[in-house]
Amino acid sequence: MGFWEEFIPLVLHGAVNTLWVLVISIPASVALAIALGSARVYGNAPIKAIATAFVVTFRGFPLVVTLFLLFFGLADLGIYLTPYQTATLAFVLCGGSYMSEYVRGAIRSIDIGQSLAARALGMTKFQELIYIILPQAIRRALPGLSNEIIYQIKYSSLAFVVGYEEIFAVSKTFISRYFMPLQVFMVDAALYLAMTTAAAYGLRALEYKLRIPGLEMSIR
């Protein structure tokens, strides 16, 4: 078998593995970000403190360190995560913490009048957050979140450090057999570019779909 016949199926298998992490980790990161961002604005003092500590911690750790901590560190405590579980969890913790700052900023940018009007109708703080503030804040946070989502697609290549067989991991192994780094990494680059481009288009379409008529400047 030649180089291409062998490499293409292998790298596609890696790509499927990469996607398999991302389809879980991206939505979960966004959900965590919304929860953390909301908690840091709307939570009572202890909840705020916990959420802030969480964000500061996982934003402060390099992703590689988080991956090692979850994989080898937890194993020391008798908790064994598979490479897949490790990668997914690490991306959620790290991505969610980063993204939460966009959500927090967006919530804080909503005019106080929206909150007053909600409370005046008799909404609880939680109802106000869910029905009035978040639908507007998430729209505002979306461009920033998109940025982080694209980062996450690219940084998913770091999962190789815990032995997860994603695009980059299979490529590295392959190069040790056929020394053709240019071809191999060009294929990798093309695959990542395809994923990030697809995500960028999808997210822009979502932004367009969620626009509020009359309120926002045109994005098209």
């Binding site: 929206q114 109708l121 909404m123 609880t124 729209r139 009359g214």
Partner: protein, 259 residues
């Protein structure tokens, strides 16, 4: 006396007693006491900084008064045991800056309190919301527009419908026409007047002397955190007891061209 007065019964629906509020070293409300009867329209007037907005917000506890008590239909709102969210449903609030929910259409703005707070079924809520919108003369062609697609006058009428649809005991209006272009003020005042005539109880902070003279049963003139003077509109506007009151209405009349 305002023409709404034939609707006014003896039943006191809102009682405000000795409200005090301080921001840092500035005492904004220095003991305000009054009551509103069912069906009545009361106007609060007074110079900027007199504490009018603060007073309205102390009534539905959007701002917590430092001292004093508020009752709505005999229930003490200032009692920490009272479920304030439940009571706020009965107090309509109309803001100077409209504060419509930007991400919802006109109809959805009116419906959301009914579905999420009052937990009415969607079809019932929709029917009620449509009725409220028609009452404030927002016709069907505007129901699916977003706030940013409406004129100021339309926005404020939707905001009034949002308050009205909740079947409130009273509607509090905080300078509802101050943010509007002069030619849009009339349509909002007309709706407020119609509601007053139908017997909807209202407490209105406004500088619209014409509205006060035509519609109000009483004017409360606030000055420096107190009600300095109160009485029938004509008396307070044309023959007030205090010099500051006279000066204030003289200036307002010049500015707003009151009748």
């Amino acid at each position: 006396m305002g023409r709404g007065s034939e609707m006014v019964g003896d039943e006191i629906v809102l009682r405000v007693e000795n409200i005090h509020k301080r921001y840092k070293d500035q005492e904004v409300l220095k003991g305000v006491t009054f009551e509103v009867r069912r069906g009545e329209t009361k106007v609060i007037a007074g110079p900027s900084g007199a504490g009018k907005s603060t007073l309205l917000r102390c009534i539905n506890l959007l701002t917590k008064p430092d001292k004093g008590r508020v009752w709505l239909e005999g229930v003490e709102l200032t009692d920490p045991e009272t479920n304030i969210n439940k009571m706020r449903q009965k107090i309509g609030f109309v803001f100077q800056e409209f504060n419509l929910f930007h991400h919802l259409t006109a109809l959805e703005n009116v419906m959301i309190g009914l579905t999420k707070v009052k937990k009415l079924p969607k079809d019932v809520a929709r029917k009620k919301a449509e009725e409220a919108l028609l009452t404030v003369h927002i016709t069907e062609d505007l129901w699916h527009k977003y706030p940013a697609q409406l004129s100021g006058g339309q926005k404020q009428r939707v905001a009034i419908a949002r308050a009205l649809a909740m079947d409130p005991v009273i509607i509090l209006y905080d300078e509802p026409t101050s943010a509007l272009d002069p030619q849009l003020v009339g349509e909002v005042l007309r709706v407020m007047e119609e509601l007053a005539r139908k017997g909807v109880t209202g407490l209105v902070v406004t500088h619209e002397i014409g509205f006060a003279l035509e519609v109000a049963d009483e004017i409360l003139f606030m000055y420096g955190g107190r009600i300095l003077e109160r009485g029938p509109p004509r008396e307070v506007v044309f023959s007030p007891k205090h010099e500051v009151t006279r000066k204030f209405f003289e200036n307002i009349t010049k500015l707003y061209g009151g009748k």
